[in-house]
Amino acid sequence: MLDHLIFGFSVAFTPFNMLIAFVGCLVGTIIGVLPGLGPTGTIAILLPLVFSMPAASALIMLAAVYYGAVYGGSTTSILVNIPGESSSVVTTLDGHKMALQGRAGPALAISAIGSFIAGTFSIIVLTFIGAPVASFALRFGPAEFFSLMVFGLSTVASLTGKSIAKAIMATVLGLMMATVGIDLISGAPRYTFGNPFLLDGIDFIVVAIGMFAISEIIVTSEELRTGERGQVIKAKSIWVSFSEFVYSIGSILRGTVIGFFVGILPGAGGTLASFLSYDIEKRLAKNPDSFGQGEIRGVACPESANNAASGGALLPLLTLGIPGSGATAVMLGALMMLDITPGPLLFQKHPELVWGLISSMYLGNLMLLVLNWPLVNLFARIMYIPARYLMPIVLVISTIGVWSLSYSSMDLIIMGICGILGYYMRKNDYPMAPILLGLILGGRMEQAFRQALIISRGSLLIFLQKPISITLLIGTLIFLMLPYLLEKWRQIQIARESAG
């Protein structure tokens, strides 16, 4: 283990890789501070930058951007009540209340400390159980992989959005988009309608930028007109007192553990981790009513959880090739474009990649703390750039990201269509994350499904005969039923309380 780690440090500590890790952290933090542009969009925009780099350097940079964006996402949640990305939504509940009470400094500081502790913990765990999980993953055949992907999609579908039917429809829409292009098994062109540009399929970056960046600018214009955009509050102090730190340390540790293990679940990601940890923390608290009123633990816990989840999400990505979140889904696509297929053999075939990445993350976390803590006021000044300038410029840069994929007008047109679709979905409670995950996983999911059927000579029972597969399918059913069960439980609780 130590040999691997030392080898990893020798890869990560080259001057070039240290520089790009620093640049990645810096860019990720800056963009994480921007409302609406989370890690997924940031990585998608920066993809053209990494294609000319060696694979290990490219992955180090993308990972640095990823955890930098997660790290910086809390700043806007706290200062202006606008989450930088989805996993920081829950931070607004107490973080912004603290800022309104003149405690923006302690809120930002505890967020930085919690993120550092959680990030470091998740890397240590990744170091020691990454390889064993990879060897366990070798037991996964096509049937198990198919069931795992069904499970991953169901966790997202069941926990995003208000309606399970809409979440399923969004997921299947993503899977349907993935069927466009040449079928890898038979060579048949599907859903191309004679258009040669569609033979390669629909690129996930085109869909991601269309749905997020284009719809964002329209939503921004609406918010500017209705005055829903928050006002920037200047932080008075960036220090947290020792007593506040001691008071919050339990929450940080609980958030870290919950976040890491939820982050491992394919498709769950930081958003779910932050919500779950906040919910559990509130239930464990002696004074749950203080949550939502400017409780420092209400910031410490979800911020630790979403950063631990960002480390945890790398585990299924590297060992199984299954993205744990939208951002790692984009990273998976980037790796595949670099001719590297993440999965159980990655640790054997590309040790410099995996161990270089893990080692660079130790350094990256330290860089992030150094960047975030003293410079948080400086980063927050980005918020002073008026949205009327910021959002159009971000849109133009995003469009370059799409254009650079294949220099094709068709990509831009699909981006425009996805923009309209994304806007409609945002306005009508259709979750967008499942579409992206469906599109990313669709091709591999179909391949695993058909390979399993070839092995079983066409019998669907293969998915029920393999123990891992049947366990995952039962898990899928539970996750899909979960929202209904939770709702029923909540109704019973309310009925009991009103009766009492």
Partner: protein, 166 residues
């Protein structure tokens, strides 16, 4: 209750999805038979399963559109649509964005982006032309230099190609 009153927005969406599913399955089944090999699941199998799941979810939404959506469209909602129709900025912004993605390759990055940025700055609330136009030009050229010259991304010059020999 009249038939049209029952067609709430979720139900309308469900109908659109159902129509889409029919088209998707039909296109999947119309693949030439020579792509099918005996004993191997063909290229239509997975799309058929996806179509069935999507159809099931759309039917579910059609039958159970949700408690709030069952009610008749409220007057406030119709006035919201009325306001939306009056919001010419909303439609102009969409028109600009769609025109940008269609026309950028032909008109060129610099020209189309400068026009788009200027227009969006004004649509998003900038009223000072002496600020909006220079900022749009500076950022367009800055972004072009950074991406086209710095990162070697081939951005189209379009109709400016003959004017600048960059």
């Amino acid at each position: 209750m009249k038939f049209w009153d029952k067609i709430t927005r979720p139900r309308g969406e469900a109908l659109v999805f159902l129509l889409g599913v029919v088209g998707y399955i039909w296109a999947g089944l119309s693949l030439p038979p020579y792509y099918r090999v005996p004993g191997v699941p063909g290229p239509s199998v997975f799309p058929l399963i996806l179509g069935a799941i999507m159809g099931g979810a759309a039917l579910w939404l059609l039958i159970f559109p949700g408690k709030q959506e069952k009610s008749k469209r409220s007057p406030s909602e119709s006035s919201r649509w009325h306001r939306l129709l009056k919001a010419w900025r909303f439609f102009l912004m969409w028109g600009l964005l769609i025109a940008y993605v269609f026309l950028m390759p032909g008109l060129g990055f610099i020209l189309s982006s400068a026009v788009l940025l200027t227009a969006l700055f004004f649509l998003l609330g900038e009223k000072r032309w002496y600020l909006g136009i220079p900022i749009a030009l500076v950022f367009t050229i800055g972004i072009y230099m950074a991406f086209a010259k710095g990162l070697q991304i081939r951005l189209p010059l379009g109709i400016l190609k003959g004017m600048f020999n960059w």
